[in-house]
Each structure stands twice: as C-alpha cells, then as structure tokens.
C-alpha cells in the first residue's frame, strides 16, 4: 500500500496567509494609485461632468413667478398674476422659446402690452418657489419676497431657467436637421476617406515591402511626412490649389473644394502615414514559406495575391481602416478650414461652444461623436489582439524577387503618391513665401511676421515648443513609470486592471470631446483645480492624457520583452526595485522611451482639437494660430506657421534620430555580440 494518496482533500478551513508587504510593494502600489488618481482627475471626472452636462436641460418655468401692476399713481390693487397666466393671455412666448441653455435669460416686459419705460406705473415681481430665480440688471433674486420696481428698472428684469435632468437636449438635437445632418456627413466623409486611404496605402506599402523598386527609403520618409504637420495644413494647401483663386481650380470642373471633396483629399493626406505604417507592418511579417508553397502548387500571381497576400494582411487592413475612420471622424482642424457649409460633428462641437456658447448642445454632439469613435476603437483593439497571434517565431521573412516591369509600375505609382504629399507641402511653403497671391508673386518673408497677425504671433510658436517639450518629458516619465508599475508589480490585480482600463480609454475619446470636458470640469469655480485653467499646465495635462494610450502601449510592449524574473532576482539580492528600474529597466527600454518622447513631442506640436478650448491669451499655440489666422483670412501666414511646425518636427525627429543613435551606441553596447 502506498502511504501517500495522490488526490487528497480540500483546502483546510481558516484564514489564508496574508502577505506582509515589503517597502517596495507599498511604494509601487502607492505610485500606481497616484497615477490612477491622475487619470481619474484628468480623464474620468471631466468625461463624467460632460456626460451629465449633456443630460442637463434648462427651461423657463413661468408658473414660478407672480407679478403685480400698479395704476398710474403707483397704487397696487392687489391683483396677482402668474407668469403662466400672463403668457396665456398675451401669447408672447411659444413653448420652444421657453427651452433654453444654462445661460438663458427671458425679459418679461412683453407680458404687459402697455409697458413703457417712461410710464409712472410700478411693478412688483416675486418667485413663488425656492427654485425660482430672476435678475434685475445683474443682481440675482431668489426667495419669495415681493420686489417693487419702477418701469425703467422693470425693463431690466430677466427670468432665469430651472435646471432638470432629461433627454431634452438629445430630443432637441435630433429634431434639428441642421445638427443631426452632421452625423450623416461625418460618417459619409469618414467612410469615403477610409476606403481611399486604405486602398492607396495598401499598394504603397505593397510596393515598399514586396517589390524590388528603387528609392524605397525616400518613399518611406515621404510617406511619414504628413505626421509632422497639423491636419489642417493640407486644407490650406488645397485652398491654394483649388480654392476660388486656386492655381488648378479648373481641374474640379466647377465643383467646389470647400466641402466633402476638400475634406476627403485632406484626410487622405493626413491619415496616409497611419494607414501605411499599420499595413506595412502586416505585410512585413508575412511568411515566405506560404509563397513557396503557392509557387510549387503553380498558383498564378493573381491567385496567390488573393489567397496568400490579402488574407495575411487582413488584420492590418481592418485595423488600418478603423484607425483612419477614427482619425477622420474626430478631426476638427481640416473640416474647419476647408469644410465650408458642409457640417461635421467635430466642427459642430466647436460652433456650439465657441460660436453660440451653447455648452449643453456641445456636450450632446460630443456624446454623439464618442459613440462611433469608441466603436471603431473597440473593433480595432479586438483585431489587433488577433494580429499578435498570427506571428510565429518560425516564419521565414519574404524576400522579393526583381520583376522589372512590375517594379517600374510600382515606382510610377509611388512617385504619384509622393508627388501628392510633397506637392501639398510645397504649395504651403510656396504660399508662405510669396507676397500676395495671386496678384504679387514676388518672394518675401512678410508672412512670417506673425506678430502682426491674429493668433498670438511668434509667442505661439515658442509656447508650442514649450508645450511639446514639457509634454515629452512629463508624459514620457508618467507613462513609462505607470506602465512599469502595472506590468511588474505583483498581486493587486484589481488595481492593475483598473489602471489598464484607464490607460486604454484616452484613445477612444476624440480630442474635441476631451477639451470640452476639461472646460466643464476645470472651469468650475468650485473645483479646487480651477487654478490651472488657462495655464500651460492644463495644456500639458490635456495633451499627455490625449496621447496616453499609444505611449502606454509602446511602453508595455517594451516592458513585456524584459525577463519576468528581474524583479525576483533584485528582491532576492535585497536591492530596492527602484534601483533595478533606474539601472536596468530604463536603460534597456531606452529605445522605447525615446520613441514615446518623440511621439508626444510631435503630437503636442500638431494637436489642435483638444487644446482649442483650453488655450488662453498667454498660452496661444502655433497649431491654434494656424487655425485662427486662417479664420481671419490670413491664409498665407497660416501656411507659414504650419510649415514652421513641419520644420520644427522634422528637426526634432532628426535630433531624436541622431541623439538616440548616439545614446544607443553607448548604452546598448550589450546588444551586439
């Protein structure tokens, strides 16, 4: 008989062992909580405030007010009239007049047809409930006391609305065709731009990965160039090319560039690098053995293309499509510049908030915009998680074989795309350097005298650089440290999954929505963080949060490649985890750290959408200046500023490249055997 049974028992009762936390555990959990708190304050709370704002409705409740009118001698006979009754008699206000926003004000003299501000008649007004409020001039009256006023003062009485929660704003939104048409418009241009961009980018990536075409390096560089400029820059170039006084206006055969055509062309320009990168990665990982198998089965190239190439890249294609869709539907700068009368959701938010001061409606449009953005984001995440599973360590990289005819064809195609990208940039640079299009084509630098234009002048440019540097430094530190904590701390599963969720959220939130929610949250005087409103700090925070997700994923990918046991070894050697972090983790992950910082820098330079609601006269930005100068009709200076952003980003990239080569050579010596 064996004495030890092989499948004994169940866990004995009694409490489980409770781990004693080491100082490092406590430090790491504490730090993680701090970053979670940061994300809650800079992301969750603002979004929540915005959501609740979209459900806030304001209405004039006339039944809450009572009035008395005296005779010419100023004697009141005691007749009390409610606002409701007066409106029924006079029918001054229709029901829709009574629906308003948080800033709504309603004058009341209309209730009294005989009213004249010179008459000696006296008026009394009071609230019947505690919720009633009215203004006399700028003095707010609450409570149910009668207030007696002469005619001249009564003129200045304005009723204030009552807030309630409900779907009123949404009902209002969907019953206003001018507003909800934008949904259709946004979806339409996003779908068209997506189809065009993904198709163009696929063949471009195919040429670069699967042909023996020449100048691949140059084309790769050109394809990435649009990332370095704000999305509205192609809009400016298109105005110069096809606008009312455009150089190539005739090519449109009478159609106007202001509207969907302009938005789609511009969107193709600024989303091209994103689509190209994703598809290129998908094509690069495909397995040569499949092509050998196809060739040995005597498949035609056409059939191989549809049975091997396309299925292999399908996740990349789907992912690229959703990324492009998301970029276009949430973009604000381009449709603002070239959209004309064609309304889209992102611009509607801006118009409602900045143009009409209707914050509730801005919030409603934001909620409407978030839905497709989140859907596209969620599908993209699902697809990407499948893409990983496709990689196998045994794959043999595909080597293209020369095919002179096809290679020439691909070269021609890529040249066309390259011409499109370089062309638009060149037009901008050209426009920036000539005196007065189209009347005086002589060269001058007068368009660079930004201080003479709207938009904050050269100060904006330097503000942008400051913002970009601060975002890069602070953002990289927060993101990388946060990613380290969430990847390498032990136990504490709930905390870590909450962190992961918050880290993924920013990508699904359009910049306009984030910016607007910041107004609601930080511009509230009762918020203790109100002080940062209008400062550089809120711009940095907003930009870091806006671009958190991609940076976080980059950091996580790098950290996952580190040996899982480094922390265990360090603990067994009784060394603090932070020493390991500083001596090993950061140096080993330096390439990723540098990638994150340049990503944040470039995006901080070009972003418009989130910060357009948040800058103050002291913190104007270059990208916003482009927008504002364009708005003011100073298109040439706008182009000049746009190109300044381009050159700055290009320079930053070159410095980043040189610096990281240098640093890597020194710190990554261990990589070479």
């Amino acid at each position: 008989m064996s004495t030890i049974s092989t499948n004994s028992g169940t866990l004995p009762p009694g409490p489980d062992i409770k781990p004693k936390l080491s100082r490092d555990d406590i430090l790491m959990r504490g730090s993680m909580m701090v970053i979670v708190l940061y994300l809650i304050v800079t992301l969750a709370l603002p979004l929540y405030t915005m959501l609740s704002k979209s459900f806030s409705t304001y209405r004039m409740e006339l039944s809450q007010y009572e009035f008395q009118v005296s005779d010419d001698a100023g004697i009141f006979d005691g007749t009390v009239l409610t606002g409701d009754a007066l409106n029924r008699q006079t029918e001054v206000f229709t029901d829709t007049d009574l629906v308003t926003g948080s800033d709504g004000r309603l004058p009341v003299t209309g209730f009294f047809p005989d009213f004249s501000f010179r008459s000696p008649v006296m008026y009394q007004i009071r609230n019947t409930t505690d919720t009633g409020r009215f203004l006399v001039g700028s003095t707010l009256h609450e409570g149910t006391e009668w207030v007696e006023l002469d005619s001249n003062t009564f003129r200045r009485v304005q009723l204030r609305p009552v807030q309630s929660r409900g779907l009123g704003n949404f009902v209002n939104y969907f019953s206003t065709p001018a507003l909800f048409n934008s949904i259709k418009n946004s979806l339409w241009i996003s779908v068209v731009s997506t189809i065009v961009t993904v198709t163009l980018a696929f063949w471009f990536a195919y040429a670069l990965n699967r042909s023996c075409m020449r100048f691949k390096g140059v084309f790769r560089l050109i394809a990435m160039a649009p990332i370095l400029v704000p999305s509205l820059l192609p809009g400016i170039a298109l105005v110069y090319l096809f606008g009312n006084q455009g150089m190539l206006k005739e090519l449109l055969f009478g159609a106007s560039i202001y509207g969907p055509i302009g938005i789609v062309i511009g969107s193709v320009f600024f989303t091209f690098p994103h689509a190209f990168l994703i598809i290129s990665t998908a094509l690069a990982i495909s397995d040569a053995r499949l092509y050998e198998a196809a060739a040995s089965l005597r498949s035609t190239p056409w059939r191989t293309f549809w049975t091997v190439t396309v299925p292999g890249a399908r996740y990349g294609l789907i992912s690229a499509a959703f990324v492009v869709f998301n970029l276009v539907i949430t973009d604000f700068g381009l449709p603002k510049v070239i959209g004309g009368q064609f309304n889209v959701l992102a611009v509607d938010i801006y118009k409602q908030v900045i143009g009409q001061q209707n914050f509730e409606m801005g919030a409603v449009v934001s909620v409407v915009l978030v839905i497709p953005a989140i859907l596209a984001f969620a599908i993209d995440r699902m697809v990407q998680s499948k893409q990983v599973a496709l990689l196998s360590a045994r794959s043999v990289p595909y080597q293209a074989t020369p095919n002179p005819k096809a290679d020439r064809l691909f070269l021609a195609y890529c040249s066309l795309i390259g011409l499109f990208i370089v062309g638009l940039l060149a037009v901008c640079q050209f426009a920036a350097l000539i005196k007065f299009w189209p009347y005086d084509l002589s060269l001058s630098l007068k368009n660079y005298q930004f201080d003479k234009m709207d938009g904050g002048g050269w100060g904006s440019y330097f503000n942008s650089i400051r913002l970009a540097l601060l975002t890069a430094v602070i953002g990289t530190s927060v993101v990388f440290f946060g990613a380290y904590l969430v990847e390498k701390s032990k136990g504490f599963r709930t905390g870590r999954s909450i962190f992961q969720m918050f880290a993924m959220l920013p990508m699904a939130i359009p910049g306009m929505v984030l910016g607007l929610s910041y107004i609601f949250f930080f511009n509230n005087p009762s918020n203790p963080l109100n002080g940062i409103y209008g400062t550089m700090a809120i711009l940095v925070i907003c930009t870091v949060t806006h671009f958190y997700t991609v940076s976080h994923l980059t950091a996580v990918t790098a950290l996952k490649q580190m040996d899982r046991e480094f922390e265990s070894v360090s603990a067994s050697l009784k060394q603090p985890t932070m020493k390991l972090f500083a001596r090993v983790t950061v140096p080993v992950c330096l390439p990723a750290v540098l990638d994150i910082s340049i990503y944040l820098f470039v995006n901080a330079m070009t972003t418009v959408s989130a910060v357009v609601f948040l800058y103050s006269p002291k913190t104007t930005l270059a990208s916003i200046a482009v927008l504002n100068m364009d708005d003011a009709g100073d298109i040439a200076p706008a182009a000049a500023m746009g190109m300044m952003i381009f050159y700055t980003n290009a320079a930053a990239r070159i410095i980043h490249l040189v610096a990281s080569r240098g640093i890597l050579k020194r710190t990554q010596a261990w990589r070479s055997r």
């Binding site: 030890i4 080491s22 050697l573 140096p587």
Partner: protein, 377 residues
C-alpha cells in the same frame, strides 16, 4: 546500501503547505524538512507543483496556507526581500545592460561594503565559477553555460543561507548540461550551502541530489536518496517516472511472491493482499540474460532463483549504442512485451538475434509489486 545521512541540522521546515489558484489546488498539504547543507531536488512532471513550492519557499508567490520556517524563523508571510536566499532561473535573468562584474556586484551594493571590497569579492566569485577573465563582458557575449555560471555567482555573492535553482540547466545543450551539473554539485559541496533545485530531468536529479522529492499533482509521492528512489520506488508513479519500468498485469501472492500469467514468481517483499490485482514491475536493465546451459549447476552464469527464469522469444532488437534493447514475449506477459536492455557483450556472447528464443531471469529482489494506477486521476 549507501544511505547518506543528511549533514547538519534542520534548516528549512515546510508544514502543511497549500496553494490554490482559484479552485485549482497546485499544492496539497505539503510537509517537508530540509537539513543544513543538503542538496535537495524537487522532481516531477510539468505542472506537478514543484516550481510553485520553490516560489513559495522564496516568497515570490505566497502559499495559500501553511508555514515555512527557515533557520528557526517563521518566514511564511515575508516578502522575498526579507528572506535569506539566492536564486537562479532557467532564463538566467542576467541584467543585459550591465557587465558581468556589475551583474555579480548588484547584490553587494548598499550593504556597507566598500568599492574595493566589492571588487575583491567579485573577482573571487569569478574565479570560483571558473570565468576569471570575463568580468568586463556583457552577458550576451557569453555562451549559455557561462551565463548560467554568472547567474550562480550573482546568487551566491551575498552568501545566502539558501540557494534556490529553478530548472537552471534546462535551457542548455545536453553536453554543457552534464558538465555544468557536475560543477554546480562541486560548488555546492565546497560552499556547503543548503540548496533546493527544481528539475523535471530525473537523470539530473539522480546525479546531483542528496535527497530527491518526487512530486505529482501537487503532492509529494516519495522522498529519499537517489538510490532509494531508484531501487525502491514507493509506488508505481515513482517507479515509472524515474528510470524505465516494465509493467505487467499480475496477482499478488504471499508477501514474497506474485503470480504472473499463471506462474508464481518470487519478488521483493510487498504488503498486498493475496489474490489482489497488482502491477509487476521490473527495470529493463535488471533483466538477466542466460545462456543455454544456465540451469545446470556448473554453468558460468547460474540462475539464482529458478522460479523466476523462463524462456522468451526475441521479437525485436534495437541497437542503442552502449546496449541492445530487446522486446521479448512470453505467455506470462499476456499480450504485452517485456523490454530488456542487454549489454553488447552479452548479446555477442549469447548470440542473440531476432526470432530466437533465450533464457532470462527476473531477479527476485528487483521484481516489485505495485497498486494498479488509479483511473481518471
């Protein structure tokens, strides 16, 4: 029999240890004592809980219930940084951006040692693991075996009371592995450090350990010296997992006999009830080949236990270098075959070939009776 008495006093004591992952029990009521200076191997198939047990000892993944006492101190709930051990992983986990010297020095810093003291100690350790001139190199510039030695040096740099080795040799080539296991054993003997090694390689465990802890499904199947485990496996799992074992359907007889296919054979002492179904087990290298005249008293290779000797048919022979593996059949084995390993010498001397019959003997003390394996476990 060579029974090594474990040196030293009780150092590590594990009592009633349980580990649950959700509803899955990875360790079930494990109790084990390890003496100072002992080299103990946790051996078992993957998923048996051996690594889980090691990580509980280290405090890397805390047990759900139970206590761990180290050097008289209860360390059950302490984090790794407050325990006293050095650890070596299968992946080496050398810091890739630090030189070999700095890797070894990593644990020596912040401990009140001066720079020159650290340098001396690092140098000493490099000599100890036989890589004196490699200090300035980076890990990637060393071979796998060299990297593992550096990981070992780093783990023992601070002179921990306990050395934990988590499959340290699994990532290495067979030749390097054999060489390095000898070196690790030597080093352990020299330093006298209490060592626990996790491995799934029985050969490694047999070669290195003072004591082997055989685990399966979260429980300890048997604890014993390598020879005990090999010669006297406590149950069929151990018998089958360590070395190779023929398994034949049989019926228990008296305490020293069993019935195999109708014949009664003498076997090692067992405690099975007479008439109960058992598995008769014998290792292929324990089967003794005999020449034709072996039954005569003056034959050079006399049969010791006549009941256990019988004729078999050689179905198949396979040359495996140092020996021949033969598949033998006999009515006693039913439909299964008996595998026997014969030396090249014996095969030549007895002129064995496929299709011939021959005489074999199953030595009584090497023929064991075990419980039937539990089904569905």
């Amino acid at each position: 029999m060579l029974q090594k008495t474990p040196p030293g006093e009780l150092y590590l004591s594990i009592q009633n240890l349980w580990k649950a992952f959700g509803s899955f029990l990875a360790l079930k009521d494990i109790s084990l004592e390890i003496n100072e200076g002992e080299f103990v191997c946790f051996l078992g198939p993957s998923g048996c809980g051996k690594t889980t047990l090691l990580r509980a000892i280290a405090g890397l993944d805390l047990q759900t219930k139970g206590t761990v006492m180290q050097d008289g101190k209860d360390v059950s709930n302490l984090p790794p940084s407050e325990r006293d051990f050095g650890i070596v992983f299968q992946s080496y986990a050398l810091f890739p951006n630090l030189t070999i010297e700095k890797n070894i020095a990593f644990g020596l810093e912040n401990s009140g040692r001066s720079k020159s003291e650290i340098a001396v100690r690092v140098n000493e350790l490099l000599h100890l693991v036989g890589l004196p001139d490699q200090g300035k190199k980076y890990p990637a510039q060393l071979s796998g075996g060299q990297q593992q030695r550096i990981a070992l040096a780093r783990a023992i740099a601070t002179k921990p009371g306990l050395l934990l080795l988590d499959e340290p040799l699994s990532a290495l080539d067979a030749k390097v592995r054999v060489h390095l296991r000898h070196e690790i054993k030597e080093l352990q003997r020299k330093l006298g450090v209490t060592t626990v090694m996790v491995t799934h390689d029985q050969e490694e465990a047999l070669a290195m350990a003072d004591r082997i802890v055989v685990m399966n499904h979260g429980v300890i199947e048997q604890v014993g010296s390598p020879t005990e485990i090999y010669r006297h496996p406590g149950n069929l799992f151990v018998a089958d997992f360590i070395g190779e074992m023929n398994q034949l359907q049989a019926t228990a007889g008296d305490p020293q006999t069993l019935e195999l296919g109708g014949s009664v054979l003498k076997c090692a002492r067992h405690s099975h009830q007479k008439g109960s179904r058992v598995i008769a087990a014998v290792r292929p290298d324990d089967v003794i080949p005999h020449g034709e005249g072996a039954r005569s008293p003056d034959a050079p290779d006399t049969i010791t236990t006549p009941e256990n000797a019988f004729e078999v048919l050689i179905n198949e022979m396979e040359f495996l270098g140092s020996f021949w593996r033969c598949r033998l059949s006999n009515k006693r084995f039913g439909s299964s075959e008996l595998i026997a390993d014969f030396s090249v010498n014996a095969v030549r001397r007895l002129e064995l070939e496929e299709g011939r019959t021959m005489m074999i003997e199953l030595p009584a003390d090497r023929l064991m009776a075990f419980d039937l394996p539990e089904t569905g476990a």
